[in-house]
Amino acid sequence: MGLAKRIIPCLDVDDGRVVKGVKFVDIRDAGDPVEIARRYDQEGADEITFLDITASHHNRDTTVHMVEAVAEQVFIPLTVGGGIRTVENIRTLLCAGADKVGINTAAVTNPEFVREASGTVGNQCIVVAIDAKRVNAPDAPPRWDIFTHGGRKDTGIDALEWAKKMEAYGAGEILLTSMDRDGTREGFDLELTRAMSDAVGIPVIASGGVGTLQHLVDGVTEGGADAVLAASIFHFQEYTIGEAKQHMQQNGIEVRL
């Protein structure tokens, strides 16, 4: 169809520094977001996502400065998520050079926020992040609920219905993380990914569980994802993004090489 499936490395950021072990052999400062982003750009990343895990208000300013620094040198799309609660937060990040923002908890707390945000800055800037966990009994039809607070709190909201609502409210994209798979390296929850991709007409980014290159392929071919997001397999240089793309292409997936 001409559109390349995207590979998106994700970086956790605290106080303007990349945390959670990026271990490239040939970079000087593993915490420097500019150096890491430039490296991923050179490897062929299609976008870069920063997840801001900063707790304090003061340190959020540091995140804005970080976005400014990265956007001065890296010319591919940048997404920033984590702790975004107001349209003013969004404006600040977009003005700093972010292209999209990820909204998670604030959307669950106040769905109208998504409508307000997309109405102000446009659907294309708004990524609604969904943390979903399987809640059905083993013999019952599949159902995934939205969880907040890092997967500890069940909101009781059906993830697929929620995504359709967010699409109607102006989300431009869904970032779908399986809380069952996140950190397991067992691969995406493909049934969830496929159900989500079929449920909405906006692009779906699959996230949570990537441990091998084949998992990336499965996310697209079986899960129907438009983009795949991963962290650890790229951070530790098990695989470069170029290798991931080669593998996807060998499996018949259109990628940007």
């Binding site: 001409g2 750009d41 003005c95 050079g97 659907n123 800037c125 007409g201």
Partner: protein
């Protein structure tokens, strides 16, 4: 000293356009984000980016008194339209129940949505990296034909005059992803977010004499 004005009329990521041009331009180039008509009038080159909804963009252009200034600039100086800055150069957009646009190019802006069936695999917005099939133009210099650029849009341009098409992309249907005439070159994709080839295109624009 030459000046490049980036027209600020909508809410968008102008900083990335500015950053990219700033990285490419030498010290003798002054790059300004311009909300004032006078800055645009005096610039040697004009970049016209844009994001958001058509109605809002056209309203902002008229309220800020920029519509005529932009049209004049497009007639006599190298002029680069990006994304919504391409779409509003057409006569009319279907977005927001129909919006009259600047009319520098004849033809309309149409929605992808009526052409897309659920389950077809096509998602709207068209978001990501698609190929552009080039039609000869100086701004394509040093960019391989069918290189991928980064797109984000839900509406596409249908110029009436085939001769104004400078690039084609296939998503949902084949559409004119780049249009050009005289000193105007306008593209749906974002060169400032399209990596190496996007930067090459912007560099070409900074050196373009406006001739085809």
């Amino acid at each position: 000293m030459q000046t490049v004005a980036i027209v600020d009329f909508s809410f968008g990521n102008l900083r990335s356009v500015h950053n990219a041009l700033h990285n490419l331009a030498g010290p003798d180039v002054d790059i300004r984000i311009a909300t004032e008509p006078s800055v645009i009038e005096q610039a040697d080159r004009v970049v016209f980016p844009g994001q958001g909804a058509a109605r809002h963009c056209m309203l902002a252009l008229r309220q800020k008194g920029l519509a005529d200034v932009v049209l004049r600039a497009a007639r006599d100086r190298p002029f680069l339209g990006i994304c919504m800055g391409m779409q509003v150069l057409m006569e009319y957009s279907e977005e927001n129940d129909g919006v009259d646009c600047l009319g520098l190019f004849s033809g309309k802006v149409r929605a992808f949505a009526p052409h897309v069936e659920r389950g077809s695999g096509f998602k709207i917005p068209h978001m990501g990296w698609s190929r552009i099939e080039q039609i000869s133009h100086p701004l394509w210099e040093n960019i391989p034909d069918r290189s991928r650029f980064y797109f984000v849009h839900s509406y596409y341009t249908t110029p009436r005059d085939e001769k104004t098409i400078a690039g084609r992309t296939d998503y949902v249907l084949p559409f004119a992803s780049v249009i050009a005439k005289d000193r105007v070159f306008a593209m749906q994709s974002h060169p400032e977010k399209s990596g190496e080839y996007g930067l090459t295109l912007l560099r070409n624009f900074l050196h373009w004499d406006g001739q085809c």
